[in-house]
């Protein structure tokens, strides 16, 4: 072999790796990978192994304890009952608003800012606002009472609805921004083409835009659902943490910091993660049935 010999096989080898989608520059990802392992994977596996080492009983006894206690088991249902409708409402409400706002118009930036402001508020401020506005002596009830629409204040805080509203207020901006960016990724000429083919706006939306948007909506739903499922502050602040809004993260918190039973808290955390995974898997399975390729927009 000549001097060029050693160079050639290595180029060859790099090509073969590249063909399999492996790029040597992936090495640059190592620091980030270390970070992820240290901050996420390690605690996860630590928690996983901890959950199989209960203070008494066999490796699965903490799981058994959770599922055999109706009060504990019920937290899954309570959390799903809040998180699923809240995530769904966020996505469904975001679609028409983002659809109306996808074009260019005067004042778009202002409207977008107003819609997105709740992100910057944080849960606690939102909770306080909700208490002021929707509480028994809040403006909303005072107006209802003053106009004699009701005789007694409507209870909208310290129960299911308080948590639900709080999740909608904090989750909507996320959903809206995501849906807006997915929508602007769809080439507007497609709808114009549909119009020249005789489709009115309703059918342009249902036949063209919506199918192309569905994968994006599924992703948006997953993200807002995960946010809502781990609800904690608002469940305490504007909910009824002892009763109808005793969400699963609250159960884990109580196990860890009130009973100091870390293995049991870990088991609850694992169950929580598993439920989220199941929901996401179902949504993503449904998503894969839609067209997920290029939609020709500005991306």
């Amino acid at each position: 072999m000549s001097a060029a010999g050693p160079g050639r096989p290595s180029a060859h080898w790099r090509h073969r790796l590249a063909e399999r989608g492996i790029d040597r520059q992936l090495i640059l990802l190592v620091p980030a990978l270390v970070f992820v392992i240290a901050l996420f994977l390690y605690p996860f596996f630590y928690g996983l192994s901890l959950s199989f080492q209960p203070t008494d009983g066999g490796p699965f006894s903490d799981y058994a304890r959770f599922f055999s206690d109706a009060y504990e088991r019920g937290t899954i249902w309570i959390t799903l009952r809040i998180a699923l409708p809240a995530a769904l409402l966020n996505v469904l409400a975001a679609v028409p608003i983002a659809y109306r706002m996808r074009g260019r118009f005067r004042g778009k930036r202002l409207v977008t800012t107003l819609l997105v402001v709740p992100i910057t508020l944080g849960t606690v401020l939102t909770a306080q606002g909700l208490l002021n506005f929707l509480g028994p002596t809040g403006w909303f009830n005072r107006i209802l009472l003053a106009t004699h629409l009701v005789d007694e204040p409507v209870r909208l805080t310290h129960n299911y609805w308080g948590v639900f509203f709080s999740l909608v207020i904090t989750g909507f901006p996320f959903a809206f921004l995501l849906v807006l960016s997915y929508l602007s990724g769809i080439d507007p000429t497609l709808e114009r083409a549909a119009a020249t083919l005789g489709a009115d706006w309703r059918r342009r939306f249902t036949r063209i835009t919506l199918p192309l948007l569905m994968p994006g909506l599924a992703t948006t739903f997953c993200l807002t659902f995960v946010l809502a499922f781990s609800v904690f502050p608002s469940a305490v602040l504007v909910g009824n943490p002892a009763g109808e809004t005793r969400v699963i993260s609250l159960a884990a918190y109580q196990a860890a910091y009130e009973q100091y039973d870390y293995p049991y808290a870990s088991a609850i955390a694992m169950i929580m993660g598993f439920v989220e995974l199941v929901v996401i898997a179902v949504v993503l399975a449904a998503r894969s049935r839609f067209y997920t390729g290029a939609t020709g927009g500005k991306g």
Partner: protein
């Protein structure tokens, strides 16, 4: 949806902000006609087409389909088929579903939808690809889907916006024939936008030349080819030799022009008097190389650059007075050759120059140094 006998555009205008994109377009389209909208980039061709399709509201003017005013109708109620420059195929629908879309929207019976879709598929020769998604097709195939989709519901008017501009030269020629064939066999009425004069000449029954949003000329391919209405149109229709000059004498339709210290005899087109500034326009193929012995319009020149173009050679020559010109010839010439050129006076068109700012880019002539 319903066929018409006449479509009339009456002063159709469109402004964007403070800028006129289309000004006072008057045009009557007879059923069965193939009209080409032609002009340089940014002249308002797409704007005109979108106004016709209903995708852009007019700022002024009206559109009439026989006695019915249609410029206030939304696109879905006009029933015009449109082929977009970017094709705009629905990426999530198969070729078959794309083509059937217009029929579905009209809620035709399933059986008829299936039959007419299959017919359209056969017409554009895509039988082997009906179950593919648009992303799995080549450019030419996508193009054919776009055309089939726009004609399958038998629209009263088909609008095409530079449908061939994304294709390679060979495919462009094939598709050109295909489009003309479809137009004839389906008895369509077509408005076709292009910036390619050759394409427009070969396809259309009538050409509309636009410039800066204004109609410059409407006429048959022959009229546009042999007698452009002004030197801008001439420029666009392949008159590559445009020189400034000054009229020495006008004599009816004949004009003698002083250009680069030479006297040229030509056909006067348009209004101008003696001593007016004019622009002289000649096609490269109208300059003959065998000019020895000619008395009028003879120029001696030196060949500078020669391009081989199959049967013909395209050459750039410089006259002894310093004028550069383009010519085409079947004779063998080589750079450095001294030649005698001649131009038939009937093929040398003389136009009024118009605003000086516009003629500034033309070749330097005595007019510039007067």
């Amino acid at each position: 949806m319903s066929a018409f006998s006449q479509l009339r555009l009456d002063g159709v205008s469109r402004r964007f902000g403070g800028q006129d994109a289309l000004t006072d377009l008057d045009l009557t389209i007879e059923t069965g006609e193939f009209i080409a909208l032609l002009g340089p980039s940014g002249c308002g061709k797409s704007t005109a087409l979108n106004c016709l399709a209903g995708l852009l509201p007019l700022t002024r003017g009206s559109i009439w389909q026989d006695e019915r005013r249609i410029d206030t109708l939304p696109p879905e109620r006009r029933g015009f088929g449109m082929v977009f420059q970017s094709y705009a195929l629905f990426p999530h629908l198969t070729v078959r579903a794309n083509i059937a879309f217009g029929l579905r929207m009209r809620r035709l019976p399933k059986e008829e939808t299936r039959r007419r879709t299959a017919e359209a598929v056969r017409l554009v020769r895509l039988e082997d690809h009906v179950d593919k998604l648009p992303g799995q097709l080549s450019g030419g195939q996508q193009q054919r889907v776009a055309i089939a989709r726009a004609v399958v519901f038998e629209p009263s008017l088909v609008l095409m916006d530079e449908p061939l501009s994304n294709l390679d030269a060979k495919l462009r020629l094939e598709m050109r024939t295909e489009i003309r064939r479809l137009h004839q066999s389906l008895g369509l009425t077509t408005v076709y936008v292009t910036h390619d004069q050759e394409e427009a000449l070969s396809l259309a029954d009538r050409l509309v030349v636009l410039r800066e949003g204004r109609v410059q000329q409407i006429g048959s391919p022959r009229e546009l080819h042999t007698r452009p209405a002004n030197w801008h149109v001439a420029d666009f229709m392949g008159y590559r030799n445009l020189w400034r000059g000054r009229v020495a004498r006008r004599d009816g339709s004949r004009a003698t022009v002083e250009s680069s210290g030479q006297r040229l005899l030509g056909e006067a087109v348009g209004d101008f008097a003696d001593h007016a500034d004019v622009v002289v326009a000649v096609r490269p193929e109208d300059i003959r190389v065998d000019g020895a012995g000619e008395t009028s319009n003879a120029l001696s020149a030196t060949i500078e650059v020669v391009e081989y173009q199959g049967r013909e050679l395209a050459a750039e020559a410089r006259t002894d007075t310093g004028q550069s010109l383009h010519l085409r010839t079947e004779q063998r010439i080589a750079p450095g050759d001294q030649v005698k050129l001649a131009i038939d006076p009937q093929r040398l068109l003389v136009y009024p120059a118009g605003a000086t700012a516009e003629t500034d880019r033309l070749a330097d002539t005595p007019a510039a140094t007067r």
